[in-house]
């Protein structure tokens, strides 16, 4: 049966910060754009970003994009691509001023400029004193940014397909992407969105772990889609564990708390980060702080209580009620709601919690997706990836706080600019012809679930996967444990093929969406496990007890994972910035 078709110049999948910034660029250039999102745009996970957007504006003190670049390269533990990092840091100020002009309600300094606060891993003058580089709208920067971008898309009359779930790419007989098939969640209608260009902006997949700061919707949908299209994922072993998720609940407590002067204590009341990072202390990079907390807890110096996992505490009360109410009002709300603690009076119980995927879909600096064929790197025509789902790679092995929001808008815009330039030059890729069989191919997993009759339930499999990832692929990893974990994931993958969708209704079928998401979650988890086993060293967030040292001789390279045969490959790290000399790897201390 032929599906209804709609034809566009560009289809963007995902309406978080990156997708909406790309959509805005294209809608304003007069292109016929569809923005597809499985949730109403302002429900996207960008809304949860708190502390701010890191950018060298120099409002709080002298600053330079090169210093920002140095910190980012070092934070990434030297496997971030230096051409991309340079582009992000250098373009950052312009892009953030654009956001301000769009109406983003940044907090202000007395002179009327955008307020900037200190965040972890920031330095002046290439490793000198602490910098204050993170522009903030109180502690609701992601919310302010996402709403401003949605508002601008309303103004630009972007065609938003809200609560539509993208199933898969339609690949034609020549292996070209012809568009995407998507499901209207409200009615069960399925439509083929035929398009010259597709931009993936589907965000992360923190829900592969049991404990995560991520929203329920962060299920790696773009990861699954590219893997099924034969395109690799890159650096999937690199997952950031944020040092301060609220113990038990997993909700995020911004690094901005420590930027404003808060610090961590163990059960003896000791400010233990002084031992692990004598210079930067609580504002060391996130991987360093997360490991330190894990070691404190392991040494028996954590707090324990009935309904919480062992944890340390984040002390803010010495900052005073006024500062907490003006700079950290959202944290106060969350802390009262989810920890039963008012930070004006008591310390917040926190624990390292899965937060961010540094890895993802490999792209160049324009957001064009890359693949390899017979050892040769090539661009996938007409396909882009931006934001957390992409691995452009500005975060390498460890992302610095506030660099994610910058990544979203810089590369959402960069992809938009690249597509726009082709459109204006009349050089957009032609529509790829797709037969009914091709389109049918993209429907296969939807049908599989509709036809399922018995087998494991979706929550059952999801819970088992999350337990495996949490226990075997967490802050500290070892080969033996991961081998076991991978075997269990392989069994889960078999069971998933025969799992059962109970609810077959067409109308707002959330179990169907959860089933389709589970396909993507497990594909992401598997990619993570394979890549984590492959990288036999410790670097950034990937910390192996059986290989505790960084191995620059063998491992300054990206890992690639292909789903068809669960194989891995490698890509070189870009060490060629355009405007300055590259930063050579050196020992990373804070």
């Amino acid at each position: 049966m032929a599906l209804p078709r709609q034809t566009f110049d560009a289809v963007i999948i995902g309406a978080g910060g990156a997708g909406m910034r790309a959509a805005l660029q294209l809608a304003n250039s007069g292109m016929n754009v569809a923005l597809i999102s499985k949730v109403f745009p302002t429900r996207s996970h960008t809304v949860s970003a708190q502390g701010g957007i890191t950018v060298a504006l120099g409002n709080s003190a002298e600053d330079d994009w090169r210093w920002h670049m140095y910190d980012t390269v070092k934070g990434a533990d030297y496997i971030g691509d230096q051409d991309s990092i340079e582009y992000m840091c250098k373009t950052g100020p312009e892009v953030v001023y654009e956001l301000e002009h769009m109406g983003l309600p940044f907090s202000r300094m007395d002179n009327g400029k955008i307020y900037q606060r200190a965040f972890g891993g920031q330095s002046k003058n290439f490793g000198g004193e602490q910098a204050a580089r993170t522009a903030a709208a109180a502690d609701r920067t992601g919310h302010a940014l996402l709403h401003a971008l949605y508002q601008q898309n309303l103004k630009a009359k972007t065609h938003v397909f809200s609560e539509w779930y993208a199933l898969d790419f339609v690949m034609n007989d020549q292996g070209k992407i012809a568009g995407v098939v998507a499901l209207k969640i409200e009615t069960g209608e399925v439509v083929f969105f035929q398009s010259r260009v597709c931009i993936l902006a589907t965000g992360g997949a923190g829900r592969i772990f049991q404990s995560t700061t991520n929203a329920h919707i962060n299920t790696g949908d773009g990861f699954g889609m590219v893997l099924r299209a034969g395109i690799p994922l890159q650096d999937m072993e690199m997952w950031q564990f944020h040092p301060t998720g609220i113990a038990g609940a997993g909700t995020l407590v911004t690094e901005g708390c420590r930027g404003e002067g808060g610090y961590l204590i163990n059960k003896d009341g000791e400010r233990f980060m002084e031992r692990y990072a004598p210079h930067a202390k609580d504002l060391a990079s996130r991987d360093v702080v997360a490991r330190s907390i894990a070691l404190e807890i392991r040494a028996g110096r954590g707090f324990s209580s009935q309904f919480m996992t062992p944890h340390v505490k984040l002390k803010l009360d010495h900052l005073g009620a006024d500062l907490i109410k003006s700079r950290l009002p959202g944290i106060r709300e969350l802390s009262i709601e989810f920890a039963g603690v008012d930070p004006i009076h008591d310390a917040i119980p926190v624990v390292p919690t899965c937060h961010y995927a540094m890895g993802g879909i490999p792209t160049n600096v324009h957001g064009q997706v890359l693949t390899t064929s017979h050892g040769k790197e090539q661009v996938v025509e007409g396909l882009y990836a931006v934001g957390e789902c992409a691995c452009v790679s500005v975060h390498g092995a460890n992302r610095l706080g506030g660099n994610s929001l910058l990544d979203l808008v810089v590369f959402g815009r960069a992809a938009g600019l690249h597509v726009e330039a082709q459109y204006l030059a009349n050089e957009l890729p032609a529509l790829a012809h797709a037969s009914d069989e091709n389109i049918d191919g993209a429907m296969s997993r939807y049908r599989r679930w509709l036809d399922s009759k018995d087998g494991d339930s979706i929550p059952q499999l999801r819970t088992e996967m999350q337990d495996i990832m949490q226990n075997d692929f967490g802050v500290f990893r070892t080969g033996e444990v991961m081998e076991e974990g991978l075997k269990r994931l392989a069994k889960l993958r078999e069971r998933l093929a025969g799992a059962h969708l109970h609810d077959k209704s067409k109308i707002f079928n959330t179990e169907m969406v959860a089933a389709l998401e589970l396909d993507n979650l497990l594909a992401t988890a598997y990619a993570t496990a394979v890549c984590a086993l492959t990288r036999t060293e410790s670097r950034g967030a990937h910390s192996r007890e059986d290989y505790p040292k960084r191995d620059d001789k063998n491992w300054i390279k990206h890992t690639l994972y292909f789903a068809a045969d669960d194989s891995t490959d490698h890509r070189p790290v870009n060490m060629s910035p355009k405007f300055i000399e590259p930063f050579e790897p050196k020992e990373r201390v804070y």
């Binding site: 949730v39 109403f40 302002t42 429900r43 996207s44 996970h45 809304v47 949860s48 504006l57 100020p93 001023y97 301000e100 002009h101 769009m102 109406g103 309600p105 940044f106 907090s107 202000r108 300094m109 007395d110 002179n111 009327g112 400029k113 955008i114 709208a137 919310h143 302010a144 709403h147 401003a148 508002q151 601008q152 309303l154 103004k155 409200e186 929203a215 329920h216 919707i217 609940a249 909700t251 009935q306 309904f307 959202g330 709300e333 969350l334 709601e337 989810f338 039963g340 339930s457 979706i458 929550p459 109970h502 609810d503 209704s505 067409k506 109308i507 707002f508 079928n509 959330t510 179990e511």
Partner: protein
């Protein structure tokens, strides 16, 4: 073995594909004594353990995305930050947000709500050329936006407003008007006259009767009634 506590949850059910009319379905669920789960956690458990067809929206689960607005024991709120203990009872009734068409179970059609939001042109308008850097704004000017920009569009307020129930097509409603004031109050916005003109008719603003349901249910502690008062004051200032 930890001690348990029974919770009775009654949930509004309606799937237009199979149901002639809506009904309330009763569930029982056990929680560990002394624990204090959020309503969303209980709903997630019901869906996972008892009925996978139970339909509701959710995303961030921390009160910032606005997906899971619903009517909880007679009052609108976000399931993800509504703690069991705050209800003062172990008997819970969950219904969809009032005043909107029901799509399925707790999922409502929010089209009209979004249309009213779009009507107020919720984006910054400034007719002067943008500077090379930021437009300056003093901390005091910026403070005018506090209590306004934090709106998460959950619709708890608008759905609790009798004036909106009567005139959902003509009365902008508390959420939309809060955002109308957010832009009127922004020192960087120059479209004040146009914005006020767009609200001059007898319905858009003036159907507000200061019932204040909006302010009492807002999960973010915002006060749309006060914002509506500011809009009216500004209109008067312009006329005199």
């Amino acid at each position: 073995m930890a001690e348990h506590q029974s919770i009775n949850i009654s949930v509004y059910r309606f799937n237009p594909e199979v149901d002639q009319k809506p009904y309330m379905q009763d569930f029982k669920i056990e929680i560990e004594k002394g624990s204090d789960p959020k309503v969303l956690t209980l709903l997630e458990r019901l869906k996972a353990e008892q009925d996978p067809t139970l339909s509701f929206r959710r995303s961030c689960r921390e009160g910032v995305c606005g997906s899971d607005g619903m009517n909880i024991n007679g009052s609108n709120g976000l399931a993800c930050i509504k703690a069991l203990s705050s209800l003062g009872t172990y008997t819970i009734a969950l219904r969809p947000l009032p005043g909107f068409p029901v799509i399925r179970d707790l999922v409502v059609d929010m089209t009209q709500f979004y249309q009213q939001y779009e009507r107020i042109e919720p984006y910054l308008q400034n007719d002067t050329p943008a500077p090379a850097t930021e437009r300056l704004q003093s901390p005091a000017e910026r403070q005018e936006l506090d209590g306004l920009y934090e709106c998460i569009l959950c619709a708890c307020c608008t759905s609790s407003c009798p004036s909106f129930w009567w005139n959902p097509d003509k009365f902008v409603g508390p959420a939309g008007l809060l955002q109308a004031w957010r832009f009127l109050a922004d020192s960087r916005d120059t479209a004040t006259d146009k914005r006020l003109q767009g609200l001059q008719d007898p319905f858009s603003v003036f159907r507000c009767r200061s019932i204040m349901n909006c302010a009492s249910v807002c999960p973010k502690g915002l006060n749309p009634t006060a914002a509506i008062g500011e809009i009216r004051k500004k209109m008067l200032d312009k006329q005199s």
